[in-house]
């Protein structure tokens, strides 16, 4: 498996805050790589380093190397526009340009020197077809892009990104603003595109990562926790944090049967309350505990396991709070 992007010792800072901590990892060619992790873990920052969009953020600094086709993207002396042309970006929220549908797709090729009308027509048609939008817009190419639905706008952004003929497609949570049908549409297009492009998708939707990814990178608070093929990471994660994150995300989607908030309680009371709460539940039901005591995060799951219950996940939900999911056994 050949690496298309090699990330070496990359550190990123926003002022004093370190957003990426010494990341070294490779991204395989012509596959879909998913970068997973909770919000604020540095996923988008890493993506922004690839196409140097991070340069536009005030007070951001990046060190290390990101090698794409033998060229160090972070090298200050290279031509940034060329780097960006090689990487299409599908943003979180579709951002069509203030012009017609046609001009949106033709914008990139025009920048890079295609002026011939016939050639532009062909390019526009070709990439709108690849993005799966052609049939819907072919009769109104001259109408403003802002008239499209949000899902159509996202496919337009895909077509626009592809029209500059990149080798890499970067997706920053590309379906988070879309309805389920449009999301599915985008996912299908990405699966088709992976034969020709290296795709990197940032997502906090584990289901999406499972559906799409060939390779997975897990980041947590700016650190690289684990990386490997999707099978390895999803079936048999080496790191406990990865297991917790994957399970945790999946379990939140599960129906919980009871929820007990133990914030403000210390050991051993939260332990006792948890035990009581489980006692009232039937076998196989799921209890969600919310705790904010650091000892409880470790001790409560351990105690419940000792009682023969199954701890499904332990997940930090914000700065102070943790969610513990327990299934009642016995």
């Amino acid at each position: 498996m050949k690496n298309h992007i090699s990330i070496r010792n990359v550190n990123a800072f926003y002022g004093e805050h370190q957003a990426l901590k010494d990341i070294t990892v490779g991204i395989p060619e012509k596959q879909i790589t998913a970068i997973i992790g909770p919000s604020g873990c540095g996923k988008s920052t890493l993506l922004k380093c690839f196409n140097r969009l991070i340069d536009l953020t005030d007070g951001a600094r990046v060190s290390g190397k990101i090698i794409v086709d033998g060229m160090d993207v972070l090298d200050g002396s290279i031509d940034v526009t060329e780097v960006r042309r090689r990487m299409g970006l599908l943003p979180q929220k579709p951002n069509p340009l203030p012009m017609s549908i046609y001009d949106n797709v033709a914008y990139g090729p025009r920048l890079h020197g295609t002026a011939d009308k016939k050639k532009l027509d062909q390019t526009v048609e070709k990439y709108l077809k690849i993005a799966g939008l052609w049939e819907e817009v072919k009769d109104r190419l001259k109408s403003p892009a802002n008239k499209l639905s949000i899902g159509q706008q996202q496919r337009l952004c895909l077509a626009r990104g592809l029209a500059v003929e990149p080798e890499i497609i970067l997706c920053d949570e590309p379906t988070s603003a879309l309805d389920p049908v449009s999301s599915q549409h985008i996912e299908q297009q990405l699966l088709k595109l992976k034969n020709d492009y290296t795709i990197v998708i940032v997502t906090h939707n584990i289901h999406q990562a499972i559906r799409l990814a060939d390779y997975v990178i897990h980041l947590y608070l700016g650190e690289l926790v684990e990386h490997g093929t999707a099978n390895e990471v999803f079936e048999n994660p080496k790191e406990e944090r990865t297991r917790a994150y994957i399970n945790g995300t999946l379990v939140t989607d599960m129906k919980t049967d009871s929820e007990v908030n133990l914030k403000g309680n210390v050991c051993p009371f939260n332990f006792v309350y948890a035990k009581q709460a489980l006692h009232t539940l039937e076998k196989g039901k799921i209890l969600k505990l919310i705790v904010d005591d650091p000892t409880a995060v470790i001790e409560v799951p351990r105690g419940m396991e000792a009682d023969g219950h199954e701890v499904l996940s332990v997940k930090q939900v914000n700065k102070t709070d943790w969610e513990i999911m327990i299934r009642k056994n016995e």
């Binding site: 196409n51 969009l53 536009l56 005030d58 526009t81 060329e82 960006r84 042309r85 990487m87 299409g88 970006l89 943003p91 929220k93 951002n95 069509p96 340009l97 203030p98 012009m99 017609s100 914008y107 990139g108 920048l111 890079h112 403003p144 892009a145 802002n146 952004c157 626009r160 990104g161 500059v164």
Partner: protein, 282 residues
């Protein structure tokens, strides 16, 4: 206080202030129409004055109409050519974040508030120094200075509103700063830019003090850019100052013409804006 009473009270207050504003504006317009309409004849807009602008009761004010249009459009175009690049350079992509930009904005705000007679006096001194006579060119240049702060600051405000996602989209396609600015930022900000230009035009065509010394006043039409020109605000000023009621009525008629010109331009620019709005991303 009772919430519903509070709600009602504020509604009444808001409507009252709106009524005060609209009422006084309406009264100004009513006075102009009431006094000016009877004197507004066809010859007013087709002939130059007969018997001098101060005393003359015959002829028209074509000299002032033509002069004002020359002055206002000339200065508007000149100010636009200077303002647009200046406003664009104040984006954060260029010098917008620097200390210098802060002081530039501050001085533009001060200049915006400077009385136009100061511009006029300054222009007059410079022209004296250069040995220039009061002329169309002098008037255009001084009016341009008057309009620059208005245009730059109001353009900058709309340019600042262009969403950064749009710029990012352009950058990710491999566009340079210049390509992004001309291709995306200006397009997105166009309706606002049109409004800024209109605002400055209104100030330019309505200003009397700055052109009093610099453009002069004359009964004839200008034949070259170095001739003095008449203007509508000054026509109003001079004609209103006479003891003759007939000439005073002509001042109101001149004001009415000025009002109609501004109205026509407002309507055109609105129509233009609407056309440009079509592609805007909201």
């Amino acid at each position: 206080m009772d919430k519903r009473f509070e709600e009602k009270l504020f509604k009444v207050l808001m409507l009252a202030s709106l009524a005060a504003v609209l009422g006084s504006l309406f009264m100004v317009i009513a006075v102009i129409i009431w006094n000016g309409a009877p004197a507004l004849t066809f010859s007013m807009i087709t002939q130059t004055p007969k018997g001098g602008y101060y005393m003359g009761k015959e002829g028209g004010i074509l000299n002032a109409i033509v002069g004002s249009l020359y002055l206002a459009f000339g200065s508007m175009i000149l100010a636009l050519i200077i303002s647009l690049p200046a406003a664009l350079s104040l984006q954060k992509d260029y010098i917008g974040k620097t200390k210098a930009a802060y002081y530039i904005r501050l001085s533009l705000d001060v200049l915006w508030g400077t009385p136009s007679i100061v511009y006029g006096a300054f222009g007059f001194i410079v022209m004296l120094y250069l040995g220039m006579r009061a002329s169309l060119l002098g008037g255009i240049i001084v009016l341009t200075f008057l309009q620059l702060p208005i245009m730059i600051r109001s353009m900058e405000e709309v340019i600042k509103m262009v969403p950064s996602e749009l710029k990012e989209a352009s950058y990710t396609l491999g566009a340079t700063r210049f390509e992004t600015t001309t291709g995306v930022v200006v397009r997105q900000a166009l309706p606002g830019i049109v409004t800024a230009v209109l605002l400055a035009f209104g100030r330019g065509i309505g200003d009397a003090a700055s052109i009093l010394f610099t453009a002069g006043y004359t009964d004839s039409l200008p034949h070259s850019i170095l001739d003095p020109v008449a203007s509508l605000p000054l026509a109003v000023f001079f004609q209103l100052g006479t003891p003759f009621p007939e000439v005073q009525a002509r001042a109101y008629a001149s004001a009415l013409i000025l009002l109609l010109i501004v109205l026509a331009l407002s309507i055109t620019s609105r129509a233009l804006s609407k056309r440009f709005m079509k592609n805007i991303i909201r």
